[in-house]
Symmetry: C2
């Protein structure tokens, strides 16, 4: 398999270049990528030194590195463009058309995207994260009034990481409640959840995948037996259906996909964006 060096480079955090670059690279199956991120390249001098490094890699490998960049400062980008790499810069590509459309010049100021432009937004993410921690795993049910969404599902169906992701990425207040055996043995809505029915969202997962996850955690007892897992999953899905709780199967999904699906299904507004 061909191997290619890829650099995600930015005069800011590099998060945009990484996210975009990773998205693009997943489209190429037949190539193995060796990746590195170089953030905070925010002076012409740093850009020149990086350009030299890129040239050295190009010489050593006999193939020019691929550089996914997001420079807001034109003169810093210009210094990097001197290198012998394929530089694809997202600001270079899109700021022009946006300026034309908005009839407004962009500020070309670093430290804005993913920066703490707005302390309120920062606080919202932190508060949402603290909320997710406090309302994890069935705790703080008396604070469900504050929740934007309450995820329910059996143990290890993906509730906690999803809640934390919703909080950190979008400032969403997400609680989660584990459906335990006593909840699943009746046909009722679990006690305490009934007043929040409109906020409930279910997670389910394929039986064999759940078994694999639970075995890694605890291999003894009923917890990871096929019989127990099948009982729990069937009862949980029946509960979702009975009370018309929307739910998603997390088996083949990343945390990003689960979170996007929940936001899309519920129409919940993001308080903050990545």
């Amino acid at each position: 398999m061909t191997q290619r060096t890829v650099l995600f480079v930015s005069d800011q955090t590099g998060v945009t270049a990484e996210t975009l670059g990773n998205s693009l690279l997943t489209q190429f199956d037949g190539v193995e990528f060796s990746q590195m991120t170089v953030p905070f390249v925010d002076t012409v001098d740093k850009a020149r030194r990086l350009a030299e490094t890129i040239d050295r890699i190009a010489d050593e490998e006999g193939l020019r590195p691929i550089v996914i960049a997001s420079f807001v400062q034109d003169e810093v980008r210009a210094a990097l463009l001197e290198c012998n790499g394929l530089v694809l810069d997202v600001f270079e590509a899109f700021l022009g058309p946006l300026e034309a459309e908005l009839q407004s010049l962009s500020s070309h100021t670093p430290g804005r995207a993913h920066g703490m432009v707005d302390e309120t937004k920062y606080d919202e993410r932190i508060e949402a994260t603290n909320y997710a921690l406090a309302a994890d795993d069935g705790h703080a049910m008396r604070d469900y009034d504050k929740a934007d969404v309450v995820l329910i599902g059996v143990s290890r169906s993906g509730k906690t990481p999803t809640c934390l992701y919703l909080a950190l990425q979008y400032g969403i207040f997400a609680a989660n409640y584990p459906l335990a055996e006593e909840d699943l043995e009746t046909n009722d809505m679990p006690r305490g959840l009934a007043p929040y029915r409109a906020k409930l969202y279910g997670l389910t997962i394929a039986s064999d995948r759940l078994r694999q996850i639970r075995l890694e955690r605890r291999s003894h007892g009923r917890y990871a037996t096929v019989q127990q897992i099948n009982f729990e999953l069937r009862a949980a899905e029946a509960l979702f259906e009975r009370f018309r709780i929307p739910y998603v199967d997390t088996t083949h999904s990343s945390v990003e996909e689960i979170a996007s699906t929940i936001l899309n299904d519920t129409g919940l507004q993001r308080r903050v964006r990545p």
Copy 2:
């Protein structure tokens, strides 16, 4: 102020379009953006219906909406391009040059970026998240062997959100230890941290910002007094200097910036990328 409607649209999760779009929009100060995300537009039919919605918005507002898109399926993108909006598509812009460079066709398959292509990577993020939860706030110090990094700092300096972000975004195992009064009253390395000195990374924060954060949490007692806060911060920074522990000031930084700075300073390798 001019107001413009912006849509982040994708046949996948929309995370790339959101991240990129937000990054671009922060460059325009004089415009107020009304934003919405439309993920999973993965058929020509859905794209046509969305194009109609966009046309309706354009009619109502008298200004065409701005559409930041990331379509991997050409025919779906083509259907959306029929709309009366300014469509900037990152795959359209960059896949061509990448295909030429790699002498390889991209797969144009949705569900790859931010998707669970690789179960191992998914597991790494979840395990890192579980680790961050277990090793939060000075817990599970006996498991610091497993940590990639141990964040230390006074209460409310930003340790927990940073650890969770490092875990979810990069699969990094990050523990955190709160510097308490008894740690700060001596000139010694806090007991239990000494064996992990090479993994330590400090967080500090401006005194008035910390006071504001602590007051929201608990307004009585010494916890949020200027005197106490100044003592803690001075002692913590002295500790970082004495033992040459790298540290970052989180006052004006987002979680993304803090995380990028830590990775950059430590040279820690990302296990997973966003």
